[in-house]
């Protein structure tokens, strides 16, 4: 896999992971071009397109597009499977994930991706193992943070903006909050149906 992009229906980039070294300029150009191309496609079209000398595999989950670039000989269906697996992982980790989770905890989304893929290849096919690794790493972080956290509590009494979890105003949440549909794979085919926003 050459790179993975996550972007919203409005064309806002939510996550990007590049497995090939490219300059920032080139990355921006590719992103712009691809976001446009993918957003222009009609909903009933197939998930693959040929772009430059690469194949693009994309999939829409609620308001988010997951988009991967693979090489000529790579398997499109397994790439769809990878995307789906990643969505499942996000869903398990955040608990019915929505776009806001990924926006506000974008570093977590990267950590999960990094445990799942490395250098563009799948490194762990077991969902359980990926989540276990992330949990343990988080635990380590928690442990290290404990000391600081106790101080933070003291401080938070003096400061109103330090709510530990992200609270979102009603107007914001209604435009995006949609649980990413987790549909079980049909006979392992990698055909994932799209649950649209309510």
């Amino acid at each position: 896999m050459q790179f993975m992009l996550l972007f919203s229906r409005q064309g806002k980039l939510r996550l990007q992971k590049w497995y090939v070294p490219l300059s920032d300029k080139e990355k921006k150009k590719i992103t712009r071009e691809l976001v446009q191309t993918v957003l222009a496609r009609k909903p009933k079209m197939c998930s693959f397109l040929e772009w430059r000398d690469l194949k693009i595999v994309y999939k829409r989950y609620a308001s988010l597009y997951f988009c991967c670039a693979i090489e000529d000989q790579d398997n499109e269906l397994i790439t769809l499977e990878i995307i789906h697996r990643y969505v499942e992982l996000l869903d398990k980790y955040f608990g019915s994930v929505c776009e806001l989770d990924i926006i506000f905890n974008f570093e977590k989304a990267y950590f999960i991706l990094d445990e799942f893929l490395l250098g563009g290849e799948v490194q762990e096919t077991s969902k359980k193992n990926v989540l276990k690794a992330i949990e343990q790493a988080d635990l380590l972080q928690e442990f290290q943070n404990q000391e600081r956290a106790s101080w933070a509590e003291v401080a938070s009494r003096h400061h109103e903006h330090s709510a530990p979890t992200c609270s979102v105003s009603g107007a914001e949440s209604c435009c995006i909050t949609t649980a990413l549909g987790e549909v079980p794979t049909e006979e392992g085919r990698g055909t994932l149906s799209i649950t649209d926003s309510v």
């Binding site: 197939c46 000989q73 926006i103 490194q123 096919t125 077991s126 790493a137 003096h158 400061h159 006979e187």
Partner: protein, 1151 residues
């Protein structure tokens, strides 16, 4: 301290965290840029604070901003700071930021080497993991070279979590540092059989990726993979293995035969579509490689086609698309099997998804035959009418043209039909491909002589109809067709039925609305037409009619003379004058037609597009030689200093220039003349006899064929291609009947001849070959120059990034390919070079070494950053700094003799290959295990050295519980874990499966370094095999030579001179006779084994410098005589110097 922490935490509370930033951006939709620039200012303030938590928070926010498209490269150094935080929480954020924004061009990346190495060997697997993940994103060639060995060691880590990451990242390392592939490959191969499935899958992934680029090197792994394939149940792994086989089979057909069965079984049994798809693809690849002479695989092809049909029929668009894609691969070798599913493919043309329709179109391209071409094109034409978007319609149009014109119009049996199709296509409005249609019209009319008459009639109708002219205002491309129409009518005007009418059509005022280049063609061809009409009229004796035509010309041409297009204007005014002249002559009743038509005499032949490229370079023509002497150097004396590099180049080219004398020139001239005489494209001075109209030789021999008269020559109005389909069917039916009749007759005759009659074997069926074309078409092939080079070598890519990885992996590993180990240059050995066979990797070339030198300097800077201990080190650093700033100065100065010697200071030999050298030498060996060791010292630690021991399992047993113990001396002691006594051994932190080697490091403390030391020691371990476990021991003697305590330190000549002058150094010298080695290599040896660096070298004399970990300066003056070498040394400690020189004498004696 506690107070500071409280303060830090409270500070943090007032800073924005990531959530605040995101929320803030969302609340400032109108002035986002302004808000963010404010945030960036805040972040810059936060980065200036000492608190690492604040810094990490700032870097985290920056990473988010980077995703939004803001440049954060200015914070690269801060990111490194956060990366090197001791807490995992921050480290994680640092590495994430680095992996998102570091790339090849980030220069501070150089500073990370040590940090990453530290993290890789961290006891926490998550530290290691996060470093590996980060590295996979930003690994550069320098990092790859420096860390390859560390990562390779991690491939044998005890935790599978680390092993699989290390295995995967090796692929990135190979790409960046191809030299690492061969040394690392054996271990990678081992990992294919790792007990952990994740690691195994990672190894399969990496080898599959490697093999796809250079399959031939991996053929030997085929049996292993075959085994894996048959026993693996993990679809992710299976897909990779099957893909790998797909790459291997084209090279080894036998493998393909073996694969067919398990693959077809998988196709039958699997329910996972991704696996099925991969299997089908590989079976196709196998069958392609087997396609010659393997008839009994038609069953597999049938199976594939069947499965693909199921995919295509599926309601899922994705499967449909992929089914069509795979089908097109089968089509290339087995068109018949695919053609059976024509109905299905044609159905896909109606699909609502454009990408699926395009795939189906691709398939159709390969599915046409003489038999079904007309039918398929008819179907496509109906789609053209129905198509909504212009892009898809244009795609259809190009596909129709592609399909029809493929392989030199192979499948067209009736060109009249094709011309009609082209004419029908001109009705498309708004297409961009008018020029394509035009090109086809021209090509067909020029190359198929039999069709010209028909083509001309159709083209004149086009010119006449005028709907195209009208559409030109809509600024679309279809009017391009008129370009072709006008040219064909003019060029082949003798075929026109009513030339006068066409002439009128071409002179209509509306024509002036056409684009300039088309008008120009109109003007030019009007004259051709005019000439042919004139000829006709004069021959018929109708002088009045001829004069009338001239009058029309004179009246109408001025509209072109006024054209804004220069080309049109020029041609028109020129021709107008010509016609006026003709008018004058006509008035005098002089016949002019003959002369006028002579203007356009001669046949135009098509020229192949590649013809120009294929013209061979004439013998004797050297494109690289100068035509004129290059300007002499003496003129540019003044500029010389500025253009150092250019000068070099010039010398180079001058060197290549051969001297040419008169005789040679004469010979070449002669050869060129010869060449020109043979070259049809060279315009000779004498008029060619071929330039006579019509009666030119070489035209008659092309058979001009009778046109089937069942087709009306002139279709009233615009033609419809459909009628041809019907006619064609009738014609074929007729043909068949005739053939049958003939056969019958033949059969009867046969029966008559032979008394006994045999049954006819086959019923007459229509096959491809049976269809005779309607016209005996002579397709004029495109011309190519004589002696054209036959091969096509246009499409090879010279800079394939994977080419460097094309190395033979089965060849036994030469020791020269060993991966560079950390600080190996500081290592020492007392072994003879003859027994050692590991040359240094860096010594191969100068370039990487320079880089490394720079790199190491930077590392030192980095180390300094970390150094918080004040005390003695400060002094050292200051000195280093002085050295470095001097270095900078020296670089700016013009190169001096000393500087010139600088780059080779460690002795890279240019004239002579360097004998192999290794920093590792044998410690001890028995049937189970082999130990080699190397001692590394560092200037930062004045009483400590690290001993790296490579343990290699030579047996078939599993070695575990390894423990190393030495008998400490008063001076030298092994560092043991806290709480253990001096008699306890230090456990080796890994186990060794059979054949595996790994490296362990042990720290020793030393008090005095002026004397060499030998320590006795024992390695104890448990060897476990099928029969049981035994406790084993291996004794060794660890030799600490004095050279081991020296660290290569660069020194500049002025500092060196001062040192010598200071006078507080004691002196000693040695002399060694019988030396045959070159001076260059000799110096290299001293540098390598004794850790010296060359300060200055003049002829056969060199000064060298080194320094011990306890700060002793050692200066050497090495002089080479006839067959001897003398070494004079000066050192702040006389015992050390004596011992060093003794060690050196041993080394030199072996040269």
């Amino acid at each position: 301290m506690a107070l500071k922490m409280v303060k830090g935490s409270i500070d943090r509370m007032f800073d924005k965290n990531l959530q605040d930033l995101v929320r803030g951006i969302r609340n400032h939709k109108e002035d986002e840029a302004k808000y963010i620039s404010q945030c960036i200012d805040e972040i810059k303030q936060e980065l200036k604070q000492d608190n690492i938590a604040v810094k990490a928070n700032a870097v985290c926010k920056l990473t988010y901003l980077q995703m939004l498209g803001y440049d954060i490269s200015w914070a690269a150094f801060n990111i490194i700071e956060v990366m090197s935080a001791s807490k995992f929480t921050f480290k994680r954020i640092g590495y994430l930021a680095a992996s998102q924004c570091f790339h090849e061009g980030t220069d501070v990346i150089m500073l990370t080497t040590n940090q990453i190495r530290k993290d890789l060997s961290s006891p926490s697997q998550y530290d290691t993991g996060v470093a590996l993940t980060g590295l996979s994103c930003f690994v550069t060639s320098d990092l790859a070279r420096d860390l390859a060995n560390d990562i390779m060691t991690l491939m044998s880590h005890t935790k599978p979590y680390i092993r699989k990451k290390a295995v995967l990242i090796m692929y990135k390392v190979f790409l960046k540092y191809p030299e690492s592939l061969r040394p690392a490959f054996p271990r990678l191969k081992e990992k294919l059989e790792d007990p952990d499935p994740g690691v195994q899958s990672a190894a399969v992934n990496v080898i599959c990726e490697l093999a796809r680029r250079n399959p031939k090197n991996y053929l030997s792994l085929a049996p292993l993979f075959f085994k894996l394939m048959t026993c693996s149940t993990n679809n992710w792994v299976l897909i990779k293995i099957i893909k790998l086989f797909g790459a291997l089979t084209p090279l080894e057909p036998r493998l393909g035969k073996k694969l067919i069965e398990p693959l077809t079984n998988l196709i039958h049994s699997t329910s996972a579509m991704s696996l099925l798809y991969e299997c089908v693809n590989t079976v196709i690849a196998v069958l392609i490689s087997l396609s010659s002479g393997m008839p009994n695989h038609s069953a597999s092809i049938q199976l594939c086609v069947q499965k693909l049909r199921i995919l295509i029929e599926d309601s899922d668009q994705n499967l449909k698309y992929l089914g069509l894609l795979a089908m097109s691969k089968i089509l290339r070798t087995h068109p018949k099997s695919v053609q059976a599913h024509k109905d299905l493919i044609l159905q896909c043309l109606d699909d609502k998804d454009e990408s699926i329709r395009l795939r189906a179109l691709d398939l159709l391209y390969g599915m046409v035959s003489k038999k079904n071409l007309m039918e398929i094109v008819k179907k496509l034409m109906t789609h053209v009418d129905k198509a909504e978007g212009t892009t898809y319609r244009d795609e259809l149009l190009t596909k129709i043209i592609d399909i029809c014109s493929q392989s030199n119009y192979q499948y067209i049996t009736n060109f009249e039909w094709y011309i009609s199709i082209l004419v029908e296509l001109t009705r498309l409005e708004g297409t961009r491909h008018g020029h394509l249609i035009a090109a086809q019209m021209l090509d067909v009319a020029i190359r198929v002589k039999a069709i010209r008459k028909f083509a001309v009639s159709q083209m004149s109708a086009l010119l006449d109809s005028g709907h195209l002219v009208a559409s030109s205002t809509q600024r679309n491309g279809i009017c391009e067709v008129l370009y072709a129409a006008a040219w064909i009518c003019g060029e082949f005007s003798e075929h026109l039925q009513e030339p006068h009418q066409t002439l009128e059509a071409m002179l209509r005022p509306k024509v002036t609305t056409l684009p300039g280049h088309i008008q120009a063609v109109y003007v030019q061809n009007v004259v051709k037409l005019y000439a042919s009409i004139l000829l006709q009229k004069e021959q018929a004796g109708e002088t009045e009619a001829a004069q009338e035509v001239t009058q029309v010309m004179v009246e109408r041409l001025p509209q072109f003379v006024q054209s804004a297009d220069l080309e049109v204007q020029e041609r028109a005014s020129c021709i107008l004058q010509l016609v006026k002249h003709v008018q004058k002559l006509q008035a005098k009743a002089v016949p002019v037609a003959e002369e006028l038509s002579a203007l356009f005499a001669g046949e135009l032949n098509p020229v192949a597009p590649k013809a120009q490229k294929k013209v061979p370079v004439p013998e004797g023509l050297d494109l690289d030689t100068w035509i004129n002497e290059p300007p002499s150097d003496s003129e540019s004396e003044d500029e010389k200093s500025k253009t150092i590099f250019r000068e070099e180049e010039q010398k180079h080219t001058q060197h290549r220039q051969p001297e040419v004398d008169e005789a040679e020139l004469a010979r070449r001239r002669e050869a060129r003349k010869q060449e020109q005489a043979n070259n049809p494209f060279y315009i000779k001075s004498s008029p060619s006899p071929q330039k006579r109209y019509q009666d030119a030789p070489g035209v008659e021999h092309i058979p001009v064929v009778q046109i089937d008269l069942s087709v009306p020559l002139k279709v009233p109005g615009l033609p419809t291609s459909d009628q041809y389909v019907k006619l064609e069917e009738e014609r074929r039916h007729q043909q068949r009947l005739e053939k049958d009749k003939k056969k019958k007759r033949k059969r009867e005759r046969e029966r008559e001849k032979k008394g006994k009659h045999r049954r006819q074997r086959s019923l007459p069926t229509e096959s491809e070959e049976d269809i005779a074309p309607a016209q005996q078409v002579d397709i004029v092939t495109e011309e190519m120059p004589e002696n054209a080079l036959p091969s096509d070598e246009d499409d090879k890519d010279p800079n394939d990034p994977y080419r460097a990885l094309d190395v033979d992996l089965d060849r036994p590993l030469a020791d020269s390919e060993k991966l560079p180990v950390q600080k190996h240059r500081n290592a020492e050995t007392s072994k003879s070079p003859q027994k050692e066979d590991v040359p240094l990797v860096e010594k191969k070339s100068k370039k990487p070494k320079k880089k490394e030198k720079k790199h190491r300097e930077r590392e030192k800077e980095r180390e300094k950053e970390e150094q918080r201990k004040p005390s003695r080190h400060k002094k050292q650093h200051r000195k280093e700094k002085a050295g470095r700033s001097k270095g900078k100065k020296a670089k700016q100065q013009p190169p001096t003799c000393a500087e010139a010697a600088g780059p080779v200071e460690n002795g890279a030999a240019e004239e002579e290959p360097l004998p192999p050298m290794s920093s590792y030498c044998l410690l001890a060996e028995n049937a189970y295990i082999k130990m080699t060791y190397d001692i590394q010292a560092s200037l930062q630690k004045e009483s400590q050295v690290t001993v790296s021991i490579i343990l290699e399992n030579q047996s078939s047993s599993f070695l575990k519980n390894m423990e190393l113990n030495v008998l400490d001396s008063l001076n030298t002691k092994m560092a043991r874990p806290e709480g253990s006594s001096v008699h306890d051994g230090v456990p080796v932190p890994f186990q060794l499966p059979p054949g595996v080697s790994n490296e362990a490091q042990f720290v020793f403390t030393i008090q005095s370094i002026v004397m060499a030391q030998k320590l006795k020691g024992t390695l104890s371990f448990i060897a476990k095999d099928a029969e049981g476990a035994t406790h084993e021991k291996l004794d060794f003697r660890l030799h600490f030579s004095c050279s081991a305590y020296l660290v290569t330190t660069p020194c500049y000549s002025d500092a060196f001179a001062k040192l010598l002058e200071s006078g507080d150094l004691s002196m000693s010298s040695i002399k060694v006779d019988g030396i045959s080695m070159s001076f260059q290599n000799l110096l290299a040896k001293i540098c390598f084994h004794h850790h010296f660096s060359v300060v200055e070298r003049v002829d056969s004399c060199a000064s060298m410098y080194s320094r011990s970990i306890q700060g002793h300066h050692v200066c050497l003056l090495v002089k080479k005589g006839e067959k001897s070498v003398s070494v004079d040394g000066k050192c702040s400690d006389s015992t050390l110097l004596g011992n060093l020189l003794e060690e050196m004498q041993v080394t030199l004696a072996q040269c």
